[in-house]
């Protein structure tokens, strides 16, 4: 049994590391996106700052900090300032329950590789991401501009609609694992079929659920082809039209942090988490699970960027019809079939 002091110290250290790693990952996924989309469009992307433009995120950050922070005169001030903060807070909170590997012992402290291991982790993530829509909606409303308002309205309608199919697509996985704990869900996916196909949920009856999750997750994070809330050809920049400098950067950070959370969740629920081939000496066996986890998250992020560079945007009526008439029935059907199969087997 550990004392309260050591619990507080360990939690603080882990929180600081997690936030630092997440923000660095956010900065470099922006770099990755600019680079990959550049190459897709036959350009080079950032090249000037550092080798391969690697210091570009740093330069961007400094630019955001020193830019003039304009507050338009007609805004509803309290909410206008609070909205980007809410976005970032909710985006960073959801990372706290995500495990990136098994238990480790560092300097005599035996601890899981996540900030806290709670048995309703998945529900916490769903709750926090569902609160995240307030940042966008309030930004759109408090800006007191028609483009922002339209963006905020679109965002809230879209996120409420897609959250249903997102939640339903996860329930199949929950039925298979029999637990809300992300650690238990990952543990339920260990092992292989016929000696080579990993027993990940995506190969184990939840293939449809994975694709429903994939599409709902794209919509939840307002990414192409679902980026109607900030469709620049119609709405200037949507809900963040009136924001500048660091306040704008906060929305940007929140969007990419949400992308990373969604990628982590996909990895944990459908792609077997940190399971993968493990060999070699003890230190490699300790590092490899974390490596596999990060590699899968990277692939998912790459997919995000790839799709952004490939697909055009939906029309708004298509977006709503897709959510309610296609994804939702599909998710329900998957849920019913999974439930039946699990009930018949047990």
């Amino acid at each position: 049994m550990q004392s309260v002091e050591s619990f507080v110290v360990i939690s603080l250290i882990k929180s600081v590391i997690a936030v630092f790693v997440l923000l660095t990952a956010v900065a470099y996924s922006v770099w990755l996106e600019r680079k990959v989309v550049g190459h897709i469009q036959n350009r080079w992307g950032p090249t000037r700052v550092g080798p391969f433009g690697l210091l570009q995120p740093l330069a961007d950050g400094i630019k955001f900090l020193f830019k003039e922070d304009i507050t338009p005169p007609h805004v509803y001030k309290t909410l206008y300032i609070a909205a980007p903060m809410l976005s970032v807070i909710f985006a960073l909170t959801s990372i706290s329950v995500i495990p990136i590997g098994n238990w480790v012992t560092i300097a005599g402290v035996h601890t899981p590789l996540q900030i806290t291991d709670v048995n309703i982790a998945l529900l916490i993530i769903l709750g926090v991401t569902s609160m995240g829509v307030y940042g966008v909606a309030l930004a759109g409303w408090s800006s007191n501009s028609k483009y922002s308002l339209l963006g905020g309205l679109r965002a809230s309608a879209q996120m409420v609609s897609y959250e249903i199919s997102l939640g339903l697509s996860l329930i199949g996985v929950l039925i298979m694992a029999g637990s809300f704990s992300l650690r238990d869900i990952v543990d339920s996916q260990s092992g292989v079929f016929w000696g080579f196909i990993p027993r990940w949920n995506i190969f184990h009856g939840q293939t449809v659920a994975f694709f429903v999750y994939l599409m709902s997750a794209f919509a939840e994070t307002n990414r192409m082809p679902f980026d109607l809330p900030e469709a620049e050809t119609e709405l200037v920049a949507g809900y963040h039209t009136e924001y500048s400098a660091m306040k704008f950067a906060m929305f940007f950070m929140a969007e990419y942090a949400n992308m990373i959370t969604v990628a982590c969740l996909a990895t944990l629920l459908f792609l077997g988490g940190w399971h993968g081939p493990i060999w070699g000496p003890a230190w490699m066996q300790a590092i490899l699970p974390v490596f596999w986890f990060l590699a899968k998250v990277f692939c998912f992020l790459f997919l995000y960027i790839w799709i952004r560079g490939t697909l055009p945007r939906f029309r708004y009526d298509q977006l709503m019809a897709f959510a309610w008439k296609f994804l939702f029935p599909l998710a329900v059907a998957n849920l019913v079939i999974t439930g039946l199969v699990v009930a018949l087997r047990s």
Binding site: I120, L123, S130, Y134, A137, W141, L149, L153, V160, F180
Partner: protein
């Protein structure tokens, strides 16, 4: 000790949010206070050991229903309320009524304090227990409730939808 302190703090936030909900003149501020009330209620549930109820409270009330409230306020672009000087009925019956209700609740609580004390987290609150209760012990009431909600939704659709003839005419006109 920490539990009690957190419980009191979030209880105070909850009450303050509820009061603020009534005092604020702009509907969006009232909606945001209601979200604060919902969220602190969720923390209270969590502190009492009902983790599943807490998570569902956040997801459904704070995350879905209140988003729709905010959505409607934004869509209708509701402005500030006008304040009236207060009706005579409210002063004559409302305030004594509230006082009487408060005294009754406090009296009941004081009468019952000390009996039937339950330790924190001793009551069933895990997802497994709640699932078992909902889909085994209370299956029929649960299904009947869901049917009632479905009927209410259909009623709302019928009331909100335009009559068919009117829609057709509008279609011809354009």
């Amino acid at each position: 000790m920490l539990h009690l302190a957190l419980f009191s703090i979030f209880g105070a936030i909850c009450v303050a949010g509820a009061v603020n909900l009534l005092v604020q003149r702009h509907p969006i501020n009232s909606a945001l206070s209601l979200i604060a009330v919902m969220a602190s209620l969720a923390v209270e549930y969590l502190l009492l050991g009902a983790e599943f109820v807490a998570a569902v409270q956040v997801i459904i009330y704070a995350g879905a229903i209140m988003v729709l409230f905010v959505f409607v306020i934004m869509l209708l672009n509701a402005g500030e309320e006008e304040r009236t000087t207060g009706s005579r009925v409210a002063i004559l019956f409302g305030i004594p009524g509230v006082l009487l209700g408060g005294v009754l609740v406090a009296w009941t609580l004081i009468q019952r304090s000390g009996t039937d004390e339950v330790a924190l987290g001793a009551l069933p609150g895990s997802p497994t227990t709640i699932g078992w209760l909902l889909f085994h012990d209370f299956l029929l009431p649960f299904e009947v409730t869901s049917l009632l909600i479905l009927i209410a939704i259909m009623g709302a659709v019928v009331l909100a939808g335009k009559p068919e003839a009117e829609t057709r005419q509008a279609g011809k006109g354009h």
